[in-house]
């Protein structure tokens, strides 16, 4: 006599497969888009900071005074979770920044960041010099 098994080995394999698919899709749906969303937020933060620094004239002032203290004062009241580093390069030399500043409470230790570049002009009488500001934003770990 052969015993009738309602649950066979096939069913167990199928159930395991179903669990695996559920787990993998759950991980995919929650983890990967969340990281993409974080990157998008960091990009927005970097873009906002760069735009406002430019509109405020802080970038131009920093180059003219050869000091990033105005920029540091500008971002001091921001949430401590936001970390930012700015480097300003002369148009002809991207090897060495003419000035650089990082938020005082932050260390450059990140897995996820957003970097944006923007060129701006520093007017000195009839002379116009071009610079590129590179801003990197990340969340404090």
């Amino acid at each position: 006599m052969t015993g009738g098994f309602v649950v066979s080995l096939d069913a167990l394999v199928a159930a395991t497969l179903l669990f695996s698919i559920l787990l993998v899709s759950f991980f995919y749906f929650t983890h990967i888009p969340a990281q993409a969303q974080n990157t998008a937020i960091l990009k927005k933060t970097a873009s906002d900071l760069l735009t406002v620094l430019e509109k405020n004239g802080e970038l131009e002032r920093a180059v003219q005074q050869d000091s990033a203290s105005g920029i540091e004062n500008f971002w001091a009241p921001l949430s401590s979770a936001v970390c930012v580093k700015i480097m300003v390069f002369s148009q002809n030399d991207f090897s060495q920044p003419v000035l650089s500043a990082t938020r005082s409470t932050c260390t450059e230790n990140f897995s996820n960041s957003a970097t944006l570049n923007r060129s701006f002009v520093v007017q000195n009488g009839f002379n116009a010099r071009f610079f590129v500001a590179r801003i990197t934003a990340w969340q404090k770990g």
Partner: protein, 172 residues
């Protein structure tokens, strides 16, 4: 020999069947429980993601767009306004638009939410001076206690000052 011989053993409630049924029911309940948990989590995650996206979209609309028509703040009512934006330039808010949205949202809050594509949520926007943290303007409805909230903070210029614009989107 007749198949209906009284001496044949009945197979319906055999040990195999009982064991098989137990294992089957155990796995079935496990599948149902896990699926329920999965779909609950997935629903919460999706709800969260949609709310976060709405908050992001509202902040973009307010900071980057002038609205449609661009001088919507001069209209006496909402007729003819197809979208609302507070910008006079990118990341630069127009004082008159901020005042007007405050007036409109106190009188026609639901219509303002519709124009910001957030009719299924509650929204609250606060503009604060960056350096002092003082609130300069706000509109909308504060989130109810205990409701899930998505908040986005953006930076812009307002009235020749740097301001933080906080957009809160909460479930109804």
């Amino acid at each position: 020999m007749s198949p209906f011989n009284k001496n044949n053993k009945g197979q319906l409630f055999s040990t195999d069947l009982l064991f098989g049924s137990t294992v089957f029911l155990f796995i079935l309940s496990l599948v149902i429980l896990t699926s329920n948990q999965f779909f609950d989590q997935w629903f919460l995650w999706k709800q969260d993601r949609l709310r976060n996206e709405t908050a992001q979209n509202i902040s973009n609309a307010l900071l980057y767009n002038t609205g449609q028509p661009a001088d919507w703040e001069n209209q006496t009512d909402l007729n003819g306004i197809t979208s609302i934006g507070l910008a006079k330039n990118r990341n630069e808010l127009a004082t008159k638009k901020v005042q007007k949205i405050g007036e409109l949202s106190s009188e026609h809050y639901d219509a303002v939410k519709d124009l910001l594509a957030a009719s299924q949520y509650e929204i609250h926007v606060t503009i604060r001076e960056l350096q002092s943290g003082n609130a300069i303007a706000s509109f909308g409805q504060e989130p109810a206690y205990g409701k899930p909230v998505s908040a986005v903070t953006r930076i812009a210029r307002y009235n020749e000052q740097t301001a933080l614009i906080q957009v809160k989107v909460s479930e109804k």
